[in-house]
């Protein structure tokens, strides 16, 4: 519909912005680089392109403006008049005309300069031509700057105009200022119009919507009209007049009976008569408002007469429409917006009148006849006079009745819950409807897990039978097992044999250990050969013990070992002290040998050898040599008198000026001191 386009008009930029937009676009969208070395045709082409591009853009934008703004002659006369009233048709047309001229001027400029550019002979000349062209175009735009601003204002105002559909069902509210038009509007629609005690609170048209009989009605609230000659009216009043003039609507003329609007009934009646020409062919209702302050019956005679005259006029419109002259009620109504008394009645009456009028008109027009031909309600032709009502079998009826009864009787779980205290208090027993062999089992809890098994896996109706079989099997098996075990025990070792085995293993492991130790050290350290007995473990006592542990009698072996060993000086001197000068080596002498034996058995660590005594195997010839060797050894160990001379422990500086301390730069820091 036309009115919605007012919101879709593109923004009109102001003069400077317009120029900026177009020029920057030219700069971005056309190539920018050119050198004077290029071919002349290329240079000309470059600059012609720029000029043409700019002109095209201007043309486009100005064309959109011209096209989008509505032409006052092409739109609905209501809007045309409204716009004229608001913005002055002439100014509006002039503005658009100016835009058009500007557009043409720009085209001309561009054309001329392109013609000149075709013959430009240098880069500089082409460039100056282009600069001139663009400059002139921009000047044109600058000149129409105020026009653009004016159009922008109009556009903004137009976008905010109320969206009135001139062709749909409309109700128009008119009357003097302050009679209660806006309050009525607020009551019947969802519009929120300002209601204030001063006149001309409503300064423009307001639209609201209301419903009646499943149809949507537009309700238009107008600013108040004063009784003045037509020429003297201001813009605001002209709005209402325009609306009245052009919209095909039901008119509700509001009358303030109490006179609290500041105007008497006589004045209002005068206004009525002056604009009654506008009520031609429109269903008219006279509404007497503010009856809470002054009821209709209580007014003065003159006023009453005036009101009746108005009513008579209104009746004429009813009759004029060819309708029934019956509805006197539908012409003059009373209400009070404050007490909301009669408001709905007024609305209904108005809507009804309008609807009837529109239907009548539609019926009279040619189009409706075509439609009517397409409708047909089919009714089966009655065959005979017999009545045939709907037939429902008795059983179905009974079942339905029973179902209904059951629904009432059975108590639902929810009801139970509510009865016993609500959701948190009562928990329904989910098991109460279980079907079990014995009803005592309903609340049983069965364990799910036992000893690491799931009980449900074992449940079987014949578990007892199977268990019996199993136990029988087990009994048999156990008997067999025992039989087997018996045979096994013969082969075990006795306790003593186990001891012997343990000893054997211990000895073996010891031997292995010693061997390993010897093996590892033999290569790295020189070992004293066994015959020198350094750790003194080859004693007869030991030998005796070892032999007896093996089960042999050691006494013979010990005797033999002792008799073979050489006696020592010390024993002989003991013999000499006893005064026996005889050969102490006489073994056959029992006494001597006894003493020898005694001495040799008491060989203990506490006895030391004389200093010069030569031990066989040491490597020294005789005792003199040994003594000399000992002396030499002692001399070599003698401590030297160093007499405070520098020794090994005294500090020595090997190099007095090491290079690394006296040269080189530091990576960080100063080298002031070294």
């Amino acid at each position: 519909m036309v009115q919605y386009n007012f919101k879709k008009i593109t923004v009109v930029p102001n003069g400077k912005d317009f120029i900026d937009i177009i020029l920057s676009r030219t700069q971005r969208q056309t190539p920018t680089v050119v050198h004077k070395g290029y071919a002349i045709s290329r240079l000309r082409q470059f600059y012609m392109r720029k000029v043409k591009y700019t002109q095209q853009n201007f043309h486009e934008k100005l064309s959109t403006i011209i096209d989008e703004f509505p032409r006052l002659d092409d739109i609905h006369p209501f809007y045309g008049d409204l716009l004229h009233v608001l913005y002055n048709k002439d100014h509006y047309k002039l503005a658009l005309g100016q835009i058009n001229t500007a557009r043409n001027l720009i085209s001309k400029v561009a054309k001329d300069y392109v013609k000149l550019l075709k013959y430009g002979d240098s880069l500089y000349r082409c460039k100056s031509l282009k600069v001139a062209a663009l400059g002139r175009m921009c000047t044109v735009i600058k000149r129409i700057g105020p026009t653009l601003a004016y159009l922008e204002q109009i556009r903004q105002h137009m976008a905010r105009l109320p969206s009135i559909d001139p062709n749909t069902r409309t109700m128009l509210i008119c009357g003097y200022p302050n009679v209660g038009k806006s309050s009525f509007m607020n009551k019947i629609t969802r519009a929120d119009v300002d209601v204030q005690p001063y006149a001309f609170t409503t300064k423009s048209l307001f639209v609201g919507h209301t419903d009646y009989k499943y149809l949507r009605y537009q309700v238009i609230d107008t600013p108040g009209i004063l009784d003045r000659p037509f020429e003297d009216r201001n813009i605001i009043e002209m709005c209402s007049i325009t609306a009245l003039a052009h919209l095909r609507a039901a008119v509700l003329f509001f009358l303030d009976i109490s006179g609290s609007c500041g105007y008497s009934i006589a004045q209002q009646a005068a206004l009525f008569h002056s604009i009654k020409s506008l009520f031609m062919n429109k269903p008219l209702i006279i509404v007497c408002n503010k009856t809470d302050l002054q009821p209709l019956d209580g007014i003065f005679e003159e006023d009453r007469k005036l009101v009746m005259e108005m009513k008579a006029e209104a009746m004429k419109t009813v009759i004029g429409q060819g309708g029934e002259p019956t509805n006197e009620e539908g012409v003059l109504l009373t209400m009070s917006t404050l007490t909301e008394d009669g408001v709905i009645a007024v609305k209904n009456a108005a809507c009804e009148r309008l609807l009837n009028q529109r239907v009548e008109l539609k019926m009279k027009s040619k189009k409706i006849n075509d439609c009517l031909n397409r409708f047909h309600v089919a009714l089966p032709k009655p065959r005979d006079q017999k009545e045939r009502p709907a037939c429902i079998p008795q059983a179905v009826l009974e079942a339905k009745a029973k179902q209904a009864a059951e629904k009432e009787k059975r108590k639902t779980e929810k009801e139970l819950e509510d009865e016993y205290g609500g959701a948190g208090v009562y928990s329904a027993s989910l098991r109460k409807n279980y079907i079990l062999a014995n009803d005592e089992w309903k609340e049983d809890t069965m364990p799910e897990i036992l000893d690491g098994h799931n009980v449900y896996d074992f449940i079987d109706p014949d578990i007892l039978l199977r268990l019996e079989e199993l136990e029988r099997e087990e009994g048999l098996r156990q008997a067999e097992e025992e039989g087997d075990d018996f045979e096994m025990d013969g082969q075990e070792l006795s306790l003593e044999e186990q001891e012997a085995l343990a000893e054997i293993r211990k000895k073996k492991s010891l031997l292995i250990q010693q061997h390993r130790m010897k093996k590892s050290t033999a290569e790295s350290r020189p070992v004293v050969p066994r015959k020198f007995n350094t750790d003194r473990k080859f004693t007869t006592g030991r030998m005796g013990r070892q032999l007896s542990s093996l089960g042999l009698d050691p006494s013979l072996a010990i005797n033999r070992a002792r008799s073979k060993s050489r006696g020592r000086k010390r024993e002989r001197s003991v013999d000499k002290r006893e005064g026996d000068g005889g050969d102490a080596m006489d073994i056959d002498d029992n006494q001597a040998s006894k003493k020898l034996r005694l001495r040799s058995t008491s060989r203990s660590r506490s006895q030391s050898r004389p200093p010069g005594e030569v031990i066989p195997g040491e490597g020294l010839k005789d005792s003199a040599q040994k003594i000399k060797a000992i002396k030499l050894a002692k001399k070599s160990v003698l401590k030297r008198n160093k007499n405070a001379r520098r020794g090994e422990a005294d500090r020595v500086i090997p190099t007095l000026k090491p290079k690394h301390l006296f040269s080189g730069k530091r990576s960080i820091g100063k080298t002031q001191r070294r």
């Binding site: 136990e471 087990e474 070792l493 012997a500 073996k508 004693t539 007896s548 542990s549 089960g551």
Partner: protein, 168 residues
């Protein structure tokens, strides 16, 4: 609530323990602890990992086939509740448990029997061969039993008076 079996080691997973992994083909793997879970993530085959039940069964270490396994089977058909049946089942579970553990231990004992016999034979042989380390051949000739010889201690009066030789 159900006790499940760990997929890796086959031990029972109690409620609140372990991890369940659902693969894209909707197969569920349950694990009793992170050890099993991590082994699974490493893609180890439980049949090759020594401490799992799968390995033990496969290599004959544990009992595999037995009639007692038929008692514990997941049945999908629900049975109507019967208190007597429930009682009997609970008692039966205990008995069956005992039988199963008996049989399992017998199985292991039988398995280890051959080793025992072998070891005894070896011990006997070792004893025979090594008796010379602890018993002199002379003593062996006198007393041919394979045990440690009896030590004869010569106690002479004279020696006790002198200072006793120190023990090595």
């Amino acid at each position: 609530m159900r006790l499940e079996k760990c997929w890796f080691c086959s031990s029972t997973v109690y409620p609140g323990h372990g991890i369940q992994f659902v693969r894209n083909d909707a197969k569920i793997f349950r694990f009793c602890k992170s050890k099993c879970h991590k082994n699974f993530k490493m893609k180890r085959n439980p049949r090759k990992v020594k401490w799992t039940k799968a390995y033990r069964r496969l290599h004959g270490k544990d009992m595999t086939q037995d009639s007692t396994f038929e008692f514990e089977r997941k049945r999908n058909r629900p049975e109507r509740y019967d208190r007597n049946l429930a009682e009997n089942t609970l008692k039966a579970i205990k008995k069956i448990d005992k039988i199963i553990s008996d049989r399992a231990s017998d199985h292991i004992k039988n398995r280890l029997k051959t080793g025992k016999v072998q070891r005894q034979k070896e011990a006997r042989k070792q004893l025979e061969l090594g008796i010379h380390l602890v018993k002199a051949p002379l003593a062996l000739a006198q007393d041919s039993s394979l045990c440690l010889p009896k030590i004869k201690v010569n106690v002479s009066q004279a020696q006790t008076e002198e200072n006793q030789p120190m023990e090595d």
